[in-house]
Amino acid sequence: MPKVHKRHDPSDIFIHWFNAACWFLLLLTGIGLIRNPAIDPFGSGYPEAMRAMVGGGGNLLLIHEFIGLAWLVGFLLYLVVNFKGALFFLSEVFPVSMGRDMTWMMKKIVLMTLGPKALKMVGLDPELPDQGYYNMGQKAFAQASVVGGVVIAVTGVIMFLSDRSFGAEATGMISWSIALHFIAVGLVFAGLLVHIYMAAISPEERPGFKSMFTGVVPDGYAKHHHRLWWEKIKTEGE
């Protein structure tokens, strides 16, 4: 019995951190591109400062577009290198078992914020249902990232092409792209806050966090957090 189990391919680890770096820079520059008192998240001081730092809003837009294109190219390269891995990811992330996964989600939220006593008080067993390769929280954020990521990429490309190839007939589509780009980023960002806390700050998933560098998780962690996956690799091999 191995002490550790393989969880991530080097290409998976690369795309995760590449994506994280791109998202961070795209958020930083993207929020600086919104300047309208009815929308800008931190007020106009932030966009002014970002624009002043790079020598104007036009430069900030160019930087944002360049990083966005690099992000897209990085993802396409990942798909070329590890298409099987991407398919495996999608097949693990999207199927949701209503009873098992929804119960897990509800209980986990209460456990993380109020503790097991809160569940016992309403007569519920604080034990969580067993989870597979990903737990429901990871699945929910992955689903939001995939769907949100596709919306962000498609609307981003439309906006990139707007003043390069589109004519007046496309203005409605471009305007909707801005709105959807903004909404999708906002929703994914809300999930990202929880993702970062669970992975990097909460001690519960520490071995999972480490696996995003090493690619492997210890046997005990796999058994406790991903029981169904652990049982599967026990019977079928890795």
Binding site: A38, G57, S162, A168, G172, A179, F182, P207, P218
Partner: protein, 247 residues
Amino acid sequence: MAQQLAMVIDAAKCIDCKGCVAACKVANDVPTGQWRNWIKPTVEEVPIPGLLKSKPKFQPGACMHCENPTCVDACPTGATYKDKETGEVVINNALCIGCGNCIPSCPYDARFRNEVTRKADKCNYCPERRAAGLPPACVDTCPTKARVFGDINDPESAAGILYRKNKDRLTRISARTDTKPNMFYVGDPGHGDWGGEAVVPASMVAMKQSAPLIKGIVGLSGLGVLAMLGRQLLVGSDAEHKEDSDA
């Protein structure tokens, strides 16, 4: 007082020669079929031959660099903005991607999506000419001097003098959305139906209305994280998780 660049137009002097329209196109390289300025005729009554009661009136117009520019409110990035120094409504071409939100937001139809640059376009009072000490092309070319341009807050400027002298009878285009345009007509230029309503595109309305919702969702998520962090710091992690330690 800050500058307010404006046009003061004596509509009675306009002879509808279209000199201003042609000069603007040449000076600013405006694509075929698109226009930064115009002259609109108004005939209040159908003239009966031999019994002409009212003369046709002409309204020279262009972007009016409004006091309350609805186009600026409709721009998500601030690519179009009101310059605080000069009072002009400016388009930053490097930042504009041609989303078109500002176009129906102008009640005077002063904006269009330039076919060549694919960005929003409109009158900018010819900054290159002004830098060279010349007036905007339309003003320079006007044979009857119907169009007068300058800082109306400067009592010494031609526009300032005309503005002060005629203060009581200056009119603005009365659009259904009153944006307080900085284009003033001496006397009644006739009432054409070219002051419309500012229409903010549904996508921009959706973006503005979803903004507080998005902020709320991000805020809730942040609160959730803080609650989890608080619990982690106060109670510590569950004892059962100690087994996960891979140390």
